[in-house]
Point group: C2
Chain length 158, copies 2
C-alpha cells in the first residue's frame, strides 16, 4: 500500500512535469510563430514604403518626442528589440531624409536626433496601412479575448 501510494505520487509528479514541459515549450513556440506571422505581414506593408520595421519603430519613437531632442541611447532604450548599431540605422533614415542628426552642444559626446517634416509625412501615410494590418491580424479574437491575451503576456514578462 505504501509502495503503491509512493508510486502514484511519483507518477503524478512525472505527469505534471511532462505537462509543464509541454506547455512551456508549446508557449515559446506559439509566441514565436505568432510573432513571425505579425512581422511578415507588417514588413510586407512597410516594404512598399522602402522602410524596415526597426526604422519604422525609430520614426515613431521620434514622433512621440514632439520635437524634444532624442539621443541614440534614448532611442535604443525604447526600441523593442535592442539591436546593436542604432548609428547605422539612423544613417539609413538620414539618407532617406526622414531624420536629422546634430551634435548636442551641452554634451558633445551625444547626438540629438529629430524627425523631419518628410519623416512625419511618411509616417502619416504609413500609419493607416499598418493599422489596418494590425487590426486584421488580431481580428480573430474578441475584445475580451484580446484583453485577456494582453494581460497574460504582460504577466508573463514580470
Amino acid at each position: 500500500m505504501y509502495i503503491q501510494l509512493s508510486y502514484m505520487k511519483e507518477l503524478e509528479d512525472i505527469i505534471k512535469t511532462k505537462t509543464d514541459i509541454a506547455l512551456a515549450k508549446k508557449t515559446v513556440l506559439n509566441i514565436s510563430l505568432t510573432n513571425v506571422n505579425f512581422k511578415d505581414s507588417i514588413s510586407h506593408v512597410l516594404k512598399s514604403f522602402d522602410i524596415s520595421i526597426e526604422q519604422f519603430n525609430v520614426l515613431r519613437i521620434l514622433r512621440g518626442q514632439h520635437g524634444k531632442p532624442t539621443n541614440l541611447q534614448d532611442i535604443q532604450d525604447r526600441m523593442v528589440s535592442k539591436m546593436s548599431n542604432t548609428t547605422r540605422l539612423v544613417d539609413k533614415l538620414i539618407l532617406k531624409g526622414f531624420v536629422e542628426r546634430f551634435i548636442c552642444e551641452d554634451n558633445r559626446r551625444k547626438v540629438e536626433i529629430f524627425i523631419t517634416k518628410k519623416g512625419l509625412e511618411a509616417l502619416q501615410s504609413i500609419d493607416p496601412k499598418v493599422l489596418l494590418v494590425e487590426t486584421e491580424l488580431t481580428a480573430a479574437l474578441s475584445i475580451e479575448e484580446l484583453t485577456t491575451l494582453n494581460t497574460l503576456l504582460t504577466k508573463l514578462r514580470k
Copy 2:
C-alpha cells in the same frame, strides 16, 4: 433628440474603434516584446554551445525524423521562421560535425540530410538547459493561464 442619439452612436463607434486600435497595436507590441525576451534567453543558453537558435531548431527537426532522410525543402517547410538559405545553415552544422549531407540517389536534384551521433549527443546536452530556461520563462503563469494563452494564440493565427 435625434441629433443626440446620432451623436452618441458616433461617439460610441469612435470609442470602440479607438479601443480596437489600441488593443490591436498593444497585442502586436506585446507579442514582439515577449518574443524578444524568449529569444534572448534561449540564445544566451545556446551561445555556450556555439549554436544559433535556427541551427538548434534544424537539429531538432532532423532528430524528429529518426533516421528518415530529410531534404532541404522538408527542413525549410518545418522551420519556425522561414529563413532563406537553409543551404548555408546546413553548411555550418556540417562544419561542426552535427549533420551529414548526401546527394539523393533517386533524385539527384535533392540532398538528404542526417543528424550525426555527435549532433544527437549535442542535442542531449543542450536540451535540459533549454528546457530549464523555457520553464523559467513561463513560470509566472499557472498551468490554466498557460493553457488559455496557448488557446488564444492558436486562435489568433487561424
